[in-house]
């Protein structure tokens, strides 16, 4: 019922287009994995597709090169919009031709990408922005 595919970054957009024509109507999930100091290349993007007409799932895995850039699939699947923004926010991966690639969960002026493995937990003290002075 579920297939896994490893795709190179050059074939990625084309393969997604083929899947869409092949009857995979939904892109249900898009996320990334950071293999910091464990594997080369460091980042992988994982995309899950669902075909509701055939009751099948397929999962695509793309290894990124050092430029950390991957084509956006928002033009094929509008549902990728928020997911690509989330991956950009959390991992710092750029999506080419994304209409509005801004941070989605963290504040706009945030420094760093929290879900990277070299971003420690509890590193930043909790602070309320522009808190009024207490005399």
């Amino acid at each position: 019922m579920k297939e896994n595919l490893d795709i190179s970054i050059e074939d990625y957009f084309q393969k997604v287009e083929e899947l869409k024509n092949d009857g995979y109507e939904m892109m249900v999930d898009l996320t990334a994995i950071d293999w910091f100091r464990k594997k080369e290349p460091r980042f992988e993007v994982v995309v899950n597709f669902l075909s509701v007409s055939k009751n099948k799932r397929i999962s695509i895995k793309v290894k990124l090169n050092d430029e950390l850039t991957i084509p956006s699939i928002t033009s094929l699947y509008p549902s990728a919009n928020f997911y690509e923004r989330e991956v950009f926010d959390m991992f710092g991966i750029n999506f080419e031709n994304h209409p509005d690639l801004t941070r989605i969960l963290m504040p706009d002026d945030w420094v760093g990408h929290p879900l990277r493995k070299d971003y420690g937990t509890g590193r930043i003290p909790v602070q309320f922005k522009n808190a009024p002075k207490v005399d």
Partner: protein, 452 residues
């Protein structure tokens, strides 16, 4: 009288009330704000408005700039169901464009999930979608069990189904209650929460907590059902259908209710598929897709129930489908109660299940074993897994990457609310602002699930 009021309001400058003290810096109040919508290019607009799929957005050139304004709705707005903030571009009273701004409830739960071991994992995931905590626990447990390649006992599976379906009822009751309140049916608010209390009482009796139960864990469930649990379930099965009849009597043929909901906020099947919308909203748009039937989990294929489907795709259909799904869930609960198998409620695998409390006083080995599991957790073989369950809002998925240690290397939860929220601009655009509130309520987003 009206004129006088207007003038007095005008004199107060809301933004500058604190500025004399020098505490609030006015220039930085635009923190987190995005580009104004009317300055955005065509591609962005297209994606936001859903015109990639079906183009129903036309800009009227005659409208003067005086009538166009950009309004912030939320994040502290009662009808946004939490801390959802919407940038709404209005022309008079018509919503033209919408941009959801989220992240106000972001607490980094996916990062926290990497710090907790598999045994502690459900404590974290249960807090994501706080209206349907059992589903979050279930999907995390199913993913872990798939990596471990184990099967839980029948009794555990049946308890899981019983609890999740009761949870679906309680979650839908909140959706009906708050949805009713947003539209102005205030009695609905009280009714929905009153009936939900019955179910929460049962949850409290079984798990110890009304929310965030941490009850379903990898390997089974935390505790057996309490004594005389059948009596409580029988009461739920008796009371809730009666009360649902009251709701129907009040609302179903009510001309005001119908007028507010029918032909409002329409989502077509194509839009649903393109924006990845699942769950009741997809079924209300005419596509019979339910993971309980199509990709069953925990043995739910053994139960007899129907999937209600509507063709209209409007707010009324999305409201009605939730009512009908409560009836279907009650059927499953009744069957689960009738066929509750006997036996253990946890897997009898010493690697995963801690020894019972009684054994700790008798056996040194049991004490060491207990200590090991609670401090180190259990190791999970390397691999990647994506499991799904049908939560009250749609497909809830859990993606776990294991590197062979006792903590997930990467834990990602595909929240249905996060995905469904993308369709909000499609639903809301070109409708009066009063209908927009009904549309948000019908999509039923839970912000804990959106921001995680």
């Amino acid at each position: 009288m009206m004129e006088e009021n207007k003038d007095t309001v005008k004199d107060v400058d809301f933004w500058a009330t604190n500025s004399e003290e020098g505490g609030w810096n006015i220039s930085s109040t635009d923190e987190g704000s995005q580009k104004m919508l009317d300055q955005e290019d065509e591609v962005t607009t297209k994606i936001q408005m859903g015109s990639e799929v079906i183009d129903d957005y036309f800009i009227d050139d005659d409208i003067s700039d005086d009538e166009r304004m950009i309004l912030n709705m939320g994040p502290q707005h009662p009808s946004t169901h939490g801390v959802l903030r919407l940038q709404v571009e209005l022309e008079g009273e018509v919503v033209r464009r919408v941009q959801p701004v989220i992240g106000y409830l972001h607490t980094g739960m996916e990062k926290t999930g990497e710090e907790l071991n598999y045994f502690q994992g459900p404590t974290n995931t249960t807090r994501m979608d706080y209206l349907s905590p059992f589903f979050n626990e279930l999907v995390f447990s199913l993913a872990t069990e798939k990596l471990l390649d184990i099967e839980v006992p029948d009794r555990a599976s049946t308890i899981r189904i019983l609890m999740t379906e009761l949870n679906r009822i309680s979650s839908h009751l909140v959706a009906l209650a708050t949805g009713g309140m947003d539209i102005g049916a205030l009695s609905m608010m009280i009714f929905g929460f009153r009936e939900r209390e019955l179910i929460l009482d049962f949850f409290e009796k079984t798990t110890g907590l009304r929310m965030n139960h941490n009850f379903i864990r990898p390997g089974g469930v935390a505790a057996d059902l309490p004594d005389n649990w059948q009596k409580d379930i029988e009461k739920i099965l008796k009371v809730i259908p009666e009360k649902l009849k009251d709701y129907d009597e009040m609302l179903l043929d009510n001309p005001i209710w119908q007028g507010r909901l029918k032909n409002v906020g329409i989502l077509t099947t194509e839009e649903c598929l393109a924006y990845g919308i699942t769950g009741p909203s997809l079924r209300a748009s005419g596509y019979a897709w339910d993971l309980r039937k199509m990709q069953p989990y925990s043995g739910i294929e053994k139960y007899e129930f129907d999937i209600p489907v509507f063709e209209e795709g409007d707010v009324f259909a999305r409201w009605r489908i939730k009512v009908l799904e409560i009836f279907e869930s009650l059927k499953i609960v009744e069957q689960a109660m009738g066929n509750m198998p006997k036996g253990p409620f946890k897997i009898q695998d010493k690697k995963i299940t801690p020894p019972p409390r009684k054994r700790l006083d008798e056996s040194m080995e049991a004490l060491i074993h207990h200590f090991k599991i609670y401090t180190e957790g259990f190791k999970v073989p390397e691999g990647e897994v994506y499991t799904t369950v049908e939560s009250p809002r749609g497909e809830l998925g859990c993606f776990i990457v294991s590197d062979g240690s006792s903590k997930p290397y990467r834990m990602h939860v595909r929240g249905p609310s996060f995905c469904n929220l993308q369709a909000l601009p499609v639903v809301m655009s070109d409708s009066p602002i009063a209908d927009a509130v009904a549309a948000i309520a019908s999509l039923d987003p839970v912000l804990g699930d959106v921001d995680r």
